[in-house]
C-alpha cells in the first residue's frame, strides 16, 4: 500500500494527452510560513504578502504620531495582506479562471495573467501553477520559484522574460514532473510541510506549497475521510471510474450525495464545475508513505462508482431506453426469469412459425401472408409491439409496460420492476412526475393518463386536432398516433395491426 508507485509515473510524467491530469486529486502540502497559499480547482497559487514587491525597506512604517512610542509591532505581516490590492486582484483572477469551469484552466490562466501583469506596475511575488490538458502551466513573478528537488530542477523568473513594465516573468508550459513540485513566493521555507498536511481547497498562510507528483493512494487515514475519500479512490476503483467518467459530466451528483455525509460545501467547491476536476485516476503520493488506513479508503470507492453509473441515466433520460431495441434479446431474458417470464400473448402463426397479431395480413418477420393460414390462436412470447418516436429522434421499443414522467423511478411499480421507467424531460415543466402509462395488452398498446397535472393530448394520424385524454381511461394507440405531454411529443408506430 505504502509505495503504490506503479500508478505514479502513469499519470504523472507522461502527461498523457488523452486525459486531463488529475490536478485536483493530488495532495498539496503547505509549509508553514507568512505568505498565502491558495488552492482552487485546477489552480495552485503561492503569493507573497510580505510586501516584498515594494521593497523590504519601505515597510518599516514610521510611527510619526505624536506621543506614541514605537511598539515592537509585527506590523508587516498583519497589515500587508489586507492592504495589498494586487494580491487581492491576483487571487480574484485565479478564482475567476478556476470558476470558469474549464477542465484544465492552465491555458486560460496563462493568458489572463499575462494581460493582468501588463497592467500592474509592481506585482507581488508569486508562483502559480495550473492544470493544462497535458501538463502544467507555470507563472513565476518576483521572488516566485518552482522547484523539483528530487530531480534537481529549478525555475525562477530570471529564466523568463522581461515585460514592458520591467517585471520579470517566467511563464511556460511544462510537463508535470514525476516528483513533488515546490512552489514558493520567495519566503524561505525553513520547515518542511507535515507529511499529512493537505490543502484541498482554500487560501491559507504558508511559505510554500508542495504539489504531489501524481495521483497516489496517499489516503491519510486519520484525517476525516471527508476530504480524501472523495478525491482519492482506492486503487481498485480506478478502472470503473476512468471508464465511466469521461462521457458524463454529472459531477455534482457523484460528489455531493456521497453517503459518508461529509459537508462538501464547506470546501469552497460549490459553484464550480466539478466535472472537469474530478479525475478518475487515483493519486499516489509516491514520495510520502502515507498513513496506513486502507479500510476507509476502499469503502467509499464502490459507492462512488455506483453513483457515477446512476449519473448518466439522469443526465440523458429520454435516451435511456434506446439500447433496448438492439440489446433486448439479451437483456430481456436476463432481467426476467429465463424464457417463461416474458409476457405471453395469443396470436396467429405465419406459415414459417412466427407469432403475429391476428389482425395482421402479413408476417412482421418474414413478410408472408398470414391470411392463408387458418387463424388458430397460439400463445407465444410477445414480440415488441411497436415503438415510440420522440421529438428528439429517440426511439423506444415497446416490449413491456412503461411509466412516463418526470420522475418515473419514484413509483413503486417501477421499483418492483412491474413498469419500466421512461423519463420524459421537459423544459416547460409540463410533464408530471408520473404522467402516463403505456400498457401492452394482448396486441394492443394502451395509453393511460395517470392523473397528470397538465393532461395528455393525442391525435390519430390525419386528425385535425388534439383531443385530451380522460385520466385513468385507457386509449388504444393506433399507428401514427401522436401523443403530447407538456412540451414533449412522441408518435406511436407499429408494424402490427391494421392500417
Amino acid at each position: 500500500m505504502s509505495s503504490a508507485t506503479p500508478p505514479a509515473p502513469l499519470t504523472g510524467t507522461t502527461g498523457a494527452p488523452a486525459t486531463v491530469p488529475p490536478f485536483d486529486q493530488v495532495a498539496v502540502r503547505v509549509a508553514p510560513g507568512p505568505d498565502l497559499v491558495v488552492r482552487l480547482p485546477g489552480v495552485l497559487l503561492v503569493v507573497g504578502v510580505t510586501n516584498r514587491p515594494t521593497g523590504p525597506a519601505a515597510p518599516a512604517a514610521k510611527p510619526a504620531l505624536v506621543g506614541w512610542g514605537s511598539a515592537p509591532v509585527p506590523a508587516a505581516p498583519v497589515a500587508a495582506p489586507a492592504g495589498d490590492a494586487h494580491v487581492g486582484e491576483l487571487v480574484a483572477l485565479c478564482r475567476r479562471v478556476s470558476a470558469a469551469g474549464s477542465r484544465a484552466p492552465g491555458r486560460r490562466l496563462h493568458e489572463e495573467l499575462r494581460s493582468w501583469l501588463g497592467t500592474v506596475t509592481d506585482p507581488p511575488s508569486f508562483a502559480v501553477t495550473a492544470a493544462t490538458e497535458d501538463g502544467l502551466t507555470l507563472v513565476l513573478v518576483g521572488g516566485g520559484t518552482a522547484e523539483v528537488p528530487d530531480l534537481g530542477l529549478r525555475l525562477t523568473p530570471a529564466q523568463g522574460e522581461k515585460l514592458d513594465n520591467g517585471t520579470l516573468v517566467l511563464d511556460r508550459f511544462v510537463t508535470w514532473p514525476p516528483a513533488a513540485l515546490h512552489l514558493s513566493a520567495g519566503s524561505p521555507a525553513d520547515t518542511a510541510p507535515h507529511p499529512l498536511a493537505d490543502l484541498e481547497a482554500g487560501a491559507v498562510p504558508g511559505a510554500a506549497a508542495v504539489l504531489s507528483p501524481a495521483p497516489a493512494p496517499s489516503a491519510p487515514g486519520p484525517t476525516p475521510a471527508a476530504t480524501m475519500q472523495v478525491r482519492l479512490p482506492a486503487p481498485h476503483a480506478r478502472v470503473p471510474l476512468s471508464t465511466v467518467k469521461p462521457p458524463a459530466p454529472a459531477a455534482p451528483a457523484p460528489v455531493v450525495p456521497a453517503p459518508a455525509g461529509h459537508d462538501h460545501a464547506g470546501h469552497d467547491h460549490a459553484g464550480h464545475d466539478h466535472a472537469g476536476h474530478e479525475h478518475p485516476a487515483p493519486a499516489p503520493v509516491a514520495a510520502q508513505p502515507p498513513a496506513p488506513a486502507p479500510a476507509p479508503v476502499e469503502l467509499p470507492a464502490p459507492k462512488r462508482s455506483a453513483l457515477l453509473f446512476g449519473g448518466p441515466a439522469e443526465a440523458e433520460p429520454a435516451r435511456e431506453p434506446l439500447p433496448t431495441p438492439g440489446a433486448e434479446p439479451s437483456s430481456a431474458p436476463a432481467a426476467a426469469e429465463p424464457e417463461d417470464d416474458r409476457p405471453k400473448v395469443k396470436g396467429i402463426l405465419c406459415k414459417n412459425g412466427h407469432l403475429n397479431d391476428p389482425r395482421a395480413g402479413f408476417c412482421a418477420l418474414c413478410g408472408i401472408r398470414t391470411t392463408q393460414q387458418t387463424a388458430v390462436l397460439i400463445e407465444g412470447v410477445r414480440p415488441p409491439l411497436g415503438l415510440l418516436v420522440f421529438d428528439d429522434g429517440a426511439t423506444v421499443s415497446l416490449d413491456m409496460d412503461y411509466l412516463l414522467g418526470r420522475e418515473p423511478e419514484t413509483d413503486e411499480r417501477v421499483a418492483s420492476g412491474q413498469l419500466r421507467p421512461l423519463l420524459v424531460l421537459d423544459q416547460t415543466g409540463g410533464v408530471s412526475r408520473h404522467h402516463a402509462e403505456i400498457r401492452l395488452e394482448g396486441w394492443d398498446v394502451l395509453l393511460v393518463d395517470t392523473g397528470s397535472a397538465n393532461g395528455t393530448l393525442v391525435a390519430p394520424r390525419g386528425a385535425p386536432g388534439w383531443s385530451s385524454l380522460v385520466p385513468n381511461q385507457p386509449v388504444r394507440l393506433t399507428p401514427g398516433m401522436a401523443v403530447r405531454m407538456g412540451g414533449r411529443q412522441f408518435a406511436f408506430e407499429s408494424p402490427h395491426g391494421g392500417f
Binding site: 402479413f362 418477420l365 392463408q372 387463424a375 400463445e379 411497436g386
Partner: protein
Amino acid sequence: MSESTIAPQHAQTPPQPGDLNDQLIASDFWTDQMLAEAGIPVVDVPFVTFGGGIGSFVTVDYLRICGVPTSAMRVLTPLKTPWESYEYLTTVSQIPRGERLRSDSSSCPDNIWGFPSYAIREALQGDLKQAWNVLVEPIFANYYTPRAGHAFESMEKEMYRIRYPEMVVNGQVRMVRRRVGGGYFTILTPPEGATPTRRIAYRSQWVHVAVGYPGLKFLPDLQRYRNEHNDYSKVVNAYERHEHVYERLHQRPGTVLIRGGGIVASRVLQRLIDDRDQRGLQTQIVHLFRTYVDRPHGTGILKRRKGADGWAYQGFNYPKSVWGGQLKQQVRKSEGEERARLYKEMGGTNTPVRRDWKEQLQRGRREGWYRVMIGSIEEMKPVGDLVEVTVNTPDQGPHTGTFDAVIDCTGLEADIREHRVLADLLDHSNAQRNPVGRLDVQRNFEVTGAQNGGKIYASGSATLGGPFPGVDTFFGLQIAAQEIADDLIAQGFAQKLGPGRSTSQWWKWVRNKQI
C-alpha cells in the same frame, strides 16, 4: 428464436367436432361419405371463389353481370373488403389513397366495360387535365394512373351494386380436393367459435382460386437481422409499415440506405425527398443497386427499354403490348421454354418514368444528398442507434457504412408452395407448374390437370407465366375474369353477354342500379 417460444402447443390439437381427419388429409379424392364421417357439414353452391381480393371481386362482378344470382356463388375470404390487402400494400409502400397508383390502369376493376375510364370520370368531375393527359400520353405526358382512393371508392360502389357482401363467407380456406363423382370440396375454417364445427365444406362444380401473391418474402438478411437483434425498426421492408422511419428523419437528420430499383424504391425515394423538400429535412440518401442500368437495353431494336442512372424505365411492369398487342399474341401462342424466355425478356425490375421524381433525383445528385452504390448487402448489425451495413461491391470490395435506417425495396415474391392451398393443389389435385414456376393455367385460366367434372380456375399473381402475361394487374384480373366467364357461359352457368345484355347492364352500371 420465435419458433422455440411457441412449440409446446403444437403437439396437442384438441379434437374438435367437424375437423379434418388423417384419412381426408391423405386422400386426393373425397367422397361425401368421408366428410359425413368426419362430421364436416357440406354446403352446396355451384361456384366458389376464394382469396377474396380484387381477383375474386372482378370475377364475381363479371358473373353477376352475366346474370348469375348471388345464391349461386360464394366468396370465401378472411378479408373484410376486396381491396383490403391491396390497399394495405399500396399504403405502406407509400401510395396512400390520395396518391396515384403506379401500375397499369387500362381497366377498372369496378367496370368491366372500361368505359368511362378513371380519367374520363375525373374529367367529368372537373379535372380536365387528366383527360388531356390520356390523350397525349406517353409522348407529351407520363402515363395516366388513377388515384388509389378513386379505385377503392369506385370498387366499393360496385361492391354494393352487385350485392357482393351477400356472397361473402368469412374464414380461411384450408384446401380444395376433388370429389368422387365430380366437382370439388373446398374446406373453409370459419373464425373460431363462429360455427359449431371447426370446418365447413363447400361442394361446388367450379372453384376459382384468387389468392394473389403467396406473400412477400423478406430477404434472408433482413429476416436474420430481425431474428438476431430483435430490432424491427431500423431495417424495414418497403412493403411493411415503416412510417416510423420517416417520422424519425423528421425529428433529426439522418442517412437512409435504399435498396432495390423497382417501383417501390422510386416511390419511397419520392416520399423521402418530398419530406425533405416540404419539411426542410437534411436526409441523406444512399441508393444501393444490385444491377445498375446505365443505358437502354433489350434483345432487339424493337424491344428496347430505356434505362439510365441505374433504373430501367418502363411505363408498367410489362411492355404495353402485353395487354393487347403483339406480345400478347406471341405469348399466348408460346409454350414451355419459349414462353419462359419471353417472360424473361420482358420482365425484370423496372420503374415508370415520372418527371417529378426524376427531377428530384437529379437535384439530389447535383446537391450531393442522393448517392448511388452498386453491390449487395453482406451484413447488417445495429451499432448504437444506427445500423452498420457492409456492402460488397463488385469492383471495389466491401464497404462499410452506418445508416439511420435501411429500407429494403426489393419485392421478392414467395414461391407458390409457400401458400398452403396452392401447395395442396400441387400435391393433391394434379395441378402443375408453368414454365415460370407458378401455377399453370390454360388460356381460359383453368388450372391445368385439375379437371374433375368441373374446373378449378385461377387468376392473379399465382398464375404468372401463363398464356397471358399481365395477370397481376387490374387489367390482367379482368381479362382472366372475362375468360373464366366465357368458359362458364359455354358450360351454361351464366348467360351470354351479348350486345343487348351488355348495353342494358352498362346502363344499369351508369345509373348505379343494384343487380
